[in-house]
């Protein structure tokens, strides 16, 4: 139990674990690890309840049916796994969020997901799953997020971050 209660593991151990988990996902589910398309599944499920005709007329949403799939479950499990890990090490945080930070997070989340959908994946789908298959798309994505991320971090360095 003690190892599970440690606040953190070596990043190499965590990385190797994620690599091995990728083997499991490819083999057991015929699916690479990925997260960003689940946000579209959430939208599809909500719009299916509110405006089913619109979903039927939008192939980008309707082609995702059934909306609650392996990848959707993956994201639910992900939140639960992180929760338990933080609980076991008593490192769960619940700090208040300033209103500036709130808007920064909303804007960041918006740009992040819009970019991911345009590129066809996020840090999981392109960055890890794509790059590990030596996909050209994955490595281009990896390089581009570091280029613009480093620039953005420099610009914002002396502000509230």
């Amino acid at each position: 139990m003690s190892i599970l209660a440690r606040p953190s593991w070596s990043p190499y151990a965590a990385g190797a674990g994620i690599g091995i988990l990728s083997w499991f996902a490819f083999w057991s589910a015929d699916h690479p690890l990925g997260v960003s398309s689940v946000m579209v599944r959430v939208v599809a499920a909500i719009e299916q309840a509110a405006a089913p005709a619109h979903v039927a007329a939008t192939p980008y949403l309707s082609k995702l049916a059934p909306f609650f799939d392996w990848e959707f479950a993956l994201v639910i499990g992900l939140a639960a796994g992180a929760w338990l890990s933080a609980r076991l090490s008593h490192s769960a945080e619940d700090s208040p969020v300033s209103s500036t930070r709130r808007w920064q997070a909303i804007l960041g989340g918006f740009l992040l997901l819009f970019g991911a959908r345009l590129a066809g994946g996020c840090t999981s789908g392109h960055g890890i799953s794509g790059s590990l298959q030596l996909a050209l798309s994955g490595w281009i994505f990896f390089a581009c997020i570091f280029a613009s991320g480093m620039l953005t971090a420099q610009v914002l360095k002396n502000r509230e971050l």
Partner: protein, 180 residues
Amino acid sequence: MFETLPRILLGLLTGFLFGFLLQKGRVSDRRVIVGQFLLRDFTVMKVMLTAIIVGGAGVYAMHAAGLTKLFVKPAQLVAVPVGGLIFGVGMVLLGYCPGTAVAAAGEGKRDAWFGLAGMIAAAAVYAEFAGLFASTVQKWSNLGPVTLPELTGVPVWAWFAALAIAAALFFRWLESRARL
């Protein structure tokens, strides 16, 4: 609306382990992620490169043994870089990527919840323009699902050997610097 129960359970289990590993790897911490982009903390790079090398070597071995297919995304030479550049700005503003934001939200970090709200809004907006992007930006300079070994003729194993050696040297240098 729902996929079969075994696949849902499999997804839950895989996701659970993924979230546990992300949290233990400290990448669900905003300071760690922003620290990486400021080149002050290389945790993100260590986790990702190790996952890529270990994961890739195993996935290609399984592929050679006929145990799995590959799922290579198309190299759209306009959409992928443009999307990646927008993503990088968002990742620093939010301080998480989609997966680590879900992990952080699970831990109870409230800023991640606002980030998820922004992501869902973006998905809703994107869905309205998806057809337009698919017939324009994502079509431009699309090389299809090409891999580096296919593109260069350098075999898969040479790529992983080179990546592993480069990563090992780089990380050794980082760790020796950290001890100074």
